[in-house]
Subunit: 369 residues, 2 copies
Amino acid sequence: MKLSCEKNILLENINIVQKAVSPKSTLPILEGILLEADENLKLTGNDLELGIECTVEATIEQKGSVVLSSKIFGEIIRKLPNDIVNIEVEDNHHTTIKCGNSEFNIMAITASEFPELPSVQKEESALIIPQQKLRSMIRETIFAVGTNENKLILTGSLIEIENKELTIVSVDGYRLALRKEIIDHAEGQISFVVPGKTLNEISKIIKEDDQDIAIYTTDKHVLFEFDNCRIVSRLLEGEFLNYKQIIPAEHSLTVKASAKPLIDSIERAALIITSDNKKYPVRLNIEMDKIVISCITDMGNVQDSIGVETLGEDLEIGFNHKYLLDALKTCDCDEVLLEFNNSLSPCIIKPVEGNAFIYLVLPVRLRQE
Amino acid sequence: MKLSCEKNILLENINIVQKAVSPKSTLPILEGILLEADENLKLTGNDLELGIECTVEATIEQKGSVVLSSKIFGEIIRKLPNDIVNIEVEDNHHTTIKCGNSEFNIMAITASEFPELPSVQKEESALIIPQQKLRSMIRETIFAVGTNENKLILTGSLIEIENKELTIVSVDGYRLALRKEIIDHAEGQISFVVPGKTLNEISKIIKEDDQDIAIYTTDKHVLFEFDNCRIVSRLLEGEFLNYKQIIPAEHSLTVKASAKPLIDSIERAALIITSDNKKYPVRLNIEMDKIVISCITDMGNVQDSIGVETLGEDLEIGFNHKYLLDALKTCDCDEVLLEFNNSLSPCIIKPVEGNAFIYLVLPVRLRQE
């Protein structure tokens, strides 16, 4: 194998495929990057759950394929000057990487053992969406993905397409995050659950621009295709939570609040919750056009208040501050609506207009003082 | 005790005195900040090695003194809105902190147990130096301070004044870092050893401006005085290494090199040193107007070269790359001089002109191949 390519382009693509490389694997070959020189150079990382393949423009003098340690290869290319990189692998796997005045000699691993990416037929129903739209939908729901491996299905996000509407939902048992967007290119009605890790990596790789990303699925896998990259991930199997059922249809109290002052107040109230073990709730006393936010712990107590618009009965309700803050900080808007029923029923956070997001947070039962 | 002051000014000074507060101490009172309200508010942190005292402009309604948990007090003030902060401590130590719509109630600790800062008479000989000059002298020598507690004296830097010349020297047994500056206000001839931790904190606190800092010493302590702050540190006792003796007076080979390409080459050569346990040296082969930098490890080998100006015999010499890089990266200049004698004698790194710094690095004996 013998090829040359530009350092910066090579590095950019190494950075992408590295997101699918296990830093430490029981199969040492999975700690490597597969290099395949054919018409161009193809780089592949694959941890068996997530596989990423990028095509890099290169001048191929001799075709071939080989696996190089992801860590070493990445670090070497990263430190090279901005110049043409020459890579040559001899039959005995001696690999020479030359650039400028630098020459590295390292050993490669035979490529034959490297696992192939699962095949996903591109004829199947596709969803096409601008990269930045998908990116923001992932980022605004991923925080509520579950971490409990005993409820494996909730460690992923549900992606649903129905009537040209794309919905992404995450639920962890204490809260729910939902985002909706109208999509031009979305055929039929499909739903599948993508592991949180996959979505997290994808949100880091795709760009903040209007270039499209195409999404294809099979029963077991999903393929994301964009620019020069193909990302294949397994899907989570099983029945996702019937999320529509847990979102209350009605409410007896509506609050319209500026997001920033509410966040600041909750953060101040949470300051005296010092020990991670003691789950002291933050208390919201919602009165006419005002929320009094307070917290009592063994450190002391704090009280804060902000002006809001209210419609409905007064209410005292307690929350884990972290869940409220995660949701409020994710809302990308100045004002939000909060909807309540009673002190044991979930709080819904919505935009003042439209239905682009719904965040739901379960309350914490307050001890009576 | 009852007072009010501006949030931002209070926070700025809390941030400073916190550098002398132990996050975890066997004496719980040392995890606190002493607040003394007299004409103004005085804040003190003291971990018994290092004490910092700052005076904060405040309106004092009732004098008094009290200790508040540094962590809680700092976090509360940090999160308050930019407004006037009111602090009131009752006789039973109930403390109320009010600002805007927020009110915190926490418990204070009695101030009587808080250890006083050691007194340093200001009549004694003082050194006066612009803050930014001291800051850069500390930053450019502190990396070579020893970490071996068995050679306690080397965990500090030697500060010497002689003939209006200020010298700061750090030595850790493998390398030496020395900085010199001419100082207008430096009387007599003194030398003392300040703990590295103290110097590190001071370099973070003092500003990048030409405001003066005054330094006073006793046998056991040093006082740094500037702006509204007083920093008192114990000195390290004992005889510092006779550093002048280990700097070679002569050399048989001089190399003039651009710092950046040399750093890049050494970093590239060090890329294949992966395991921290295996101390593979980086090898410098200095030939006529060229250095070939190479490294051989069980990962492979690398070779790099840069053009330089040489004067003297060819030389092959090995180094721990970290020590060479620490020194070269600290030199704040485009070009440096490197001086050598033989493969077992230290390398000296100096400016092309003047004597503002000397870095010395011991070589590593190379195995013959």
